[in-house]
């Protein structure tokens, strides 16, 4: 990533992708995040894969490896526990974004905040 502000938010992002798409593989996630962030967040493989492994170990996501388009891909989906965690993570993120906005951009009116 280009900014270290993203530190700590990668798990939340991955969890959100899986909550939206319900099925994705790692490489796909990194490409989608790169695109969605307009090249601002480049999730390296050294960060991505260990996070996926940890989320799976914690029962937040599950995987099954399949052979698709001449490729071996490890597809991940969110578990029930993960869905609950996702709600909490989103709340935590909203709270963080709001707090940061209040602390750093308090003079801007709400509708123009971040713009």
């Amino acid at each position: 990533m280009k900014s270290n502000l993203y530190k700590g938010s990668l798990s939340t992002i991955i969890l959100h992708l899986l909550a939206e798409k319900r099925e994705m593989y790692g490489y796909e996630m990194s490409k989608l995040v790169k695109e969605k962030s307009d090249d601002k967040l480049l999730m390296t493989e050294g960060a991505l894969y260990p996070i996926l492994h940890k989320l799976e170990a914690d029962g937040i996501i599950t995987s099954d490896t399949r052979y698709v388009d001449n490729r071996n891909r490890k597809y991940y989906k969110i578990t029930e526990k993960g869905a609950k965690q996702h709600v909490l993570s989103l709340k935590e993120m909203k709270d963080y974004l709001q707090t940061m906005q209040n602390m750093l951009l308090p003079t801007l009116p709400t509708q123009n905040a971040l713009v």
Copy 2:
């Protein structure tokens, strides 16, 4: 801090405090941040003081120790270089907040974003 989303944003926050107040000491910063964040961000001394020392070593801030109210306090203020850095840091933070909002909360209309 209660959420590890704050990881990476402490320097930005400290720099912003000094850009606003023009003079503060460490202990004062930690109390103000606690108050401003509504107890959501508790900047520990183990994080705070090393950051201040690094910012000073990098010429972003300067300090002078004074005896005030029966206390030895190390007052910090922002340098010219620091003021320039602060503009960049704020831009970076706005960009991060906007990107996160786009990625995680894209369905919400702008005026209700984060609410």
